[in-house]
């Protein structure tokens, strides 16, 4: 059921109850969780927080907790799966789903009770959902008619023949249409508004929002943009909204009499450079490791490095300055950096080097950019552990990353930044080697490549956030590395990547991402994977909340890919 008034229909309902909050492991969900925690704290709502990685864990945690809790909040999970079907909850349990995964499962949406969906009141979103009447229809009366007392009605049958036939025909037609509608609806998977944003709006409606919560909402939205879950237009419209909230919350600071203490969080809106972690790294490294610059300069070639040097020379930045930590660069250069980069970027064919963003500052510490926070938290979520401490480690990742969000200056955040640098280096070196060796193959309807076991850093690739970031990086760089005619074609091809998931079990993780030219970020792989698996009877598991990420047995890989090719061509 759609919730129209989140304050009354959601928050006031759970206010005096014990609540179970299940959080998916992505940055957006964590941010939403932080805001929700703050709200619960204000009203003394007792809650329990449980991280869930995938569907089976969702079921397991639900089984363990179902007797103690009657109200369950799902953050960034469960919206696109039929909850009543997989969890089979008793009738007094209600679910509140705040999920950015689309399409929403129709049963969840039309269910009259138990499941409550928190959505943004967006015309497009509601319009995308098919009419109730076109998918559900009361058949009881018809069915009874046809099956009722056959013997008695034998004689009468002839008379009704015409009518029943007509009815059946109509029904068949309707069923076909229904199938078509559902297929159209479920064909693409994509992302709606960020969960953090939705929860922030709830806080705003209750007049309990503050700068901390705004910062979490910003981070949630930045996560969606950075991991290419939403297109630029959706991002910009969210940013505009956030900017409105920001100026509303901070208008008091503008006159000098009301200056706030230095130690409070200050959020500012800016047109920032789209460079990864440059405030915490050296400019040179950052240019090499961010997607827009790395793919534009083709830094994996010698020519590319030369061009990068040229670019720096054009801007008039000495190498010694660029290669040292950003915070130690000369102040004058730092101040002019943005305009310098922008001027020279055009000459080198760098478009969209600047984007609207936010940064936060607390005390006299360095500014933290929203996208850097996303990198950091994401890296903490997917921190690798050695084999023996793996089980313990994976759980504590959730706790660590939640801690890192707690304050802008949290020490965990710094750890995360360091980890993120390692990840970016791994991405860059892998992208270079993939393109150098020419490992990306065109399979006709899509591009394909596989990460081999034994590659350096191959363990990173089993993690969905990293894999997703890597595949976008790779696709971008690959398309750039082609010549013009090929490039046009490759722009419209999606990419499929396989990587070892669990070496001991012999399983592979597969991710599919939409083509570069597609701005809507709609992903058709969810359904394609499902059909391919059905057709080949491969042992796949569609455990991830993201339908475009699946795992399967290594042996089934080749037949699965063959089926995928036939389905998509």
């Amino acid at each position: 059921m759609l919730i129209t008034d989140p304050v009354n229909d959601f928050f006031n309902k759970v206010k005096h109850e014990r609540v179970l909050v299940m959080v998916a492991l992505d940055v957006d969900a964590l941010c939403a969780c932080k805001i929700l925690q703050a709200l619960f704290k204000c009203d003394h709502v007792q809650y329990t927080l449980v991280p869930v990685i995938n569907k089976s864990q969702l079921i397991k945690e639900f089984e363990e907790h179902k007797e103690q809790y009657k109200h369950i909040v799902l953050l960034n999970c469960g919206g696109n799966i039929d909850l009543l079907h997989i969890l089979d909850p008793s009738e007094d349990i209600s679910f509140y789903v705040i999920d950015s995964h689309r399409p929403i499962d129709l049963v969840n949406f039309f269910c009259e009770q138990q499941i409550y969906m928190l959505l943004k009141h967006d015309e497009d979103e509601i319009a995308a959902i098919p009419d109730y009447d076109s998918i559900y229809r009361d058949y009881d009366s018809d069915d009874e008619d046809s099956e009722n007392d056959e013997t008695e009605q034998v004689s009468k049958r002839h008379r009704f023949d015409e009518a029943t036939l007509e009815k059946r025909r109509e029904r068949k037609k309707w069923e076909e249409k229904r199938k078509e509608i559902i297929f159209d609806y479920e064909e693409f998977s994509f992302y709606g508004p960020s969960a953090a944003m939705l929860v922030y709006e709830l806080a705003w409606k209750m007049s309990k929002d503050n700068n901390d919560q705004l910062w979490w909402a910003i981070t949630g939205v930045a996560d969606q943009f950075q991991n290419k879950k939403i297109g630029r237009d959706k991002y910009v419209s969210s940013v505009l909204e956030l900017q409105g909230h920001m100026s509303r919350l901070n208008h008091r600071d503008e006159d000098d009499d009301n200056t706030k203490s230095v130690n409070s969080v200050k959020i500012s809106f800016e047109h920032d450079l789209d460079l990864a972690l440059y405030r915490h790294w050296s400019l040179f490294e950052s240019l090499c490791h961010s997607l827009p610059t790395a793919s534009a300069f083709k830094v994996w070639t010698n020519m590319g490095i030369k061009r990068l040097h040229q670019f720096l020379a054009e801007m008039g930045l000495p190498l010694t300055q660029c290669k040292q930590n950003y915070s130690f660069m000369e102040t004058k250069m730092r101040d002019n950096l943005q305009s310098l980069v922008e001027e020279s970027a055009e000459k080198f064919g760098l478009r969209n080097i600047k984007y609207q963003s936010f940064s936060a500052q607390c005390g006299y510490n360095h500014r933290l950019c929203a996208s850097d926070a996303v990198y950091s938290v994401g890296a903490l979520l997917e921190k690798l552990y050695s084999k023996d401490s793996q089980a313990a480690g994976e759980n504590s990742n959730f706790v660590d990353s939640l801690d890192s969000l707690s304050r802008v200056t949290a020490p965990k955040m710094q750890d995360g930044l360091e980890l993120a640098k390692l990840q970016l280096q791994a991405i860059k070196s892998s992208v270079s080697s993939f393109i150098d060796i020419g490992q990306i193959l065109s399979y006709g309807p899509f591009l394909y490549t596989a990460v081999r076991e034994g590659m350096p850093d191959y363990k990173y690739f089993g993690k969905p956030i990293f894999l997703n970031l890597f595949s976008h990086f790779l696709l971008n760089s690959y398309v750039r590395s082609l010549n013009k005619t090929k490039r046009e074609r490759a722009k419209n091809l999606p990419l499929v990547i396989c990587a070892p998931f669990n070496v001991d079990d012999g399983t592979t993780i597969i991710i599919g991402i939409p083509p570069l030219a597609d701005e809507s970020r709609k992903n058709l792989f969810g359904n394609a994977f499902l059909h391919a698996a059905e057709r080949t009877k491969s042992r796949t598991s569609h455990e991830s909340f993201d339908s475009s990420i699946i795992t399967l047995k290594n042996e089934d890989l080749s037949k699965f890919l063959d089926a995928l090719i036939t389905i998509m061509s």
């Binding site: 925690q37 809650y47 927080l49 363990e64 103690q68 706790v399």
Partner: protein, 195 residues
């Protein structure tokens, strides 16, 4: 010199850090008592002589010195015992009615006895307040929040709260619970408060 041992005892008490209870120094206490016994007997003798023989004033100074030493020893011993009892009393408020074994080992038999008596009177007093009694040791300072955020450190299965609801303590799950429920679990190291 007389009284030296008693001073040692006081020094030992002084040296032990705040909130810790050193072992009960039975040896030294016994030695002091023996010393006092000797002094007392010597004084008895001299006093008897003086009483018999009014004119003999020569031993009066000695009696005076011995008497002062006796008084001093007594004061030191009492101070030693009293301070230990006060520490034990504080520990009752800190640790609850059952003391950790390492502290118990440092107590003398009499102290143990005193402790259980103190326990009894305290609990009977606490029972007498209000209709259902009140645990005075719960909040020594007024709490800042009624609820606190805690993180579970180890798997402990289900526990039942005062209001009858049950919660599952699983490693790394986070909870927002009434402070009074958590305090004991935090002391046992099952939960950790999130700052």
């Amino acid at each position: 010199m007389f009284g030296e041992k008693a001073l040692d005892l006081i020094r030992e008490l002084h040296r032990s850090r705040d909130g810790t209870l050193g072992p009960y120094n039975e040896d030294v206490v016994r030695q002091i008592l023996e010393e006092m016994q000797i002094l007392y007997e010597a004084n008895q003798e001299d006093v008897a002589q003086v009483v018999q023989n009014d004119s003999d004033q020569s031993s009066l100074t000695a009696i005076q010195v011995r008497h002062d030493s006796l008084q001093r020893n007594k004061r030191c011993l009492l101070a030693y015992l009293y301070n230990r009892l006060m520490k034990i009393r504080d520990m009752r408020w800190e640790f609850g009615s059952v003391l950790p074994p390492d502290i118990r080992r440092n107590m003398s038999e009499r102290e143990v006895q005193w402790f259980s008596n103190y326990n009894r009177s305290l609990s009977s007093y606490m029972r007498s307040i209000g209709p259902r009694g009140l645990d005075l040791t719960q909040d020594l300072k007024p709490p800042q929040n009624v609820f606190i955020e805690v993180r579970c450190v180890e798997d402990r299965g289900e526990i039942e709260l005062d209001d009858g609801s049950r919660i599952l303590l699983k490693k790394n799950s986070m909870h927002f619970l009434p402070r009074s429920q958590c305090e004991r679990l935090i002391r046992q190291g099952i939960l950790k408060q999130v700052a």
